[in-house]
Amino acid sequence: MDALTLPGTLDSLTAIREFVGEMGENAGLDRKALYRLKLAVDEIATNIVTHGYEAAGLQGEIVISSRLAPEALTIQLEDTSQEYNPLGLEKPDTLDKPIGERPIGGLGVFLAVRGVDEFRYEHVNGRNLHTFTVKIPSSQSQSS
């Protein structure tokens, strides 16, 4: 398992995407799947920083870790910010509206959930755990 501990600030987003990029390449993800995974993790990390830490007046870290199994790559974000379950926000019902008439928000979670094969949120011992799983191409008959 690989892991990296970063400050819970927006300046950490680049390092988070680089970590995901490296892990995804090691796992053999194609370009498209890797982009979606990077986007998914980046969107949730952004929410952790802006909603979980900054808006709540808290400070802390984000731990990103990766686990590679024969059939799947799993990336996990762990933080001690305010309990924040993104699920339930993931389907903005305004996608068919012209963008000038849309409320701002919900898009990031939508992209995160749509970008991976499985997204899970848990709150354990005061820590938020966001887990992203993508199937590895060799274990699928057809990669989408």
Partner: protein, 113 residues
């Protein structure tokens, strides 16, 4: 690659903003302030040159919403030469009905307001 946003106004009031690098939540304000500058200068159309934009998070999409709300929904918003992954995000989020995607810069169409 570091993010950059550069605004150029044509005499006819077309705001052309060239974006490059990775657009995430940490740099979205730079993009937003270029939009603000363009609207302050009375932009009548917004053109985003994005060939060298390699990544865009939802923070970038939110700036597009901001632009549309700021400039009025009748102002055309062009996105020129998006990379495949960015085009996919624009499509997936339903932004295709609010922006005009062009595969190449078309001066005749873009610069005549």
């Amino acid at each position: 690659m570091a993010f950059d946003a550069v605004l150029k106004m044509t005499p006819a009031g077309v705001a052309i903003i060239t974006l490059s690098g990775e657009l995430d939540a940490s740099v979205a304000d730079n993009f937003r302030s270029e939009i603000q500058k363009a609207t302050n200068q009375g932009a009548r159309r917004l053109v985003l040159m994005v060939k060298d934009l390699s990544y865009m998070a939802s923070a970038g999409l939110r700036v597009l919403i901001f632009a549309k709300q700021k400039m009025g929904s009748n102002v055309d918003l062009y996105v020129v030469e998006p990379q495949e992954a960015i085009r996919e995000v624009i499509t997936m989020t339903g932004f295709t009905q609010s922006v005009i995607i062009l595969d190449e810069y078309n001066a005749a169409e873009i610069e005549s307001v």
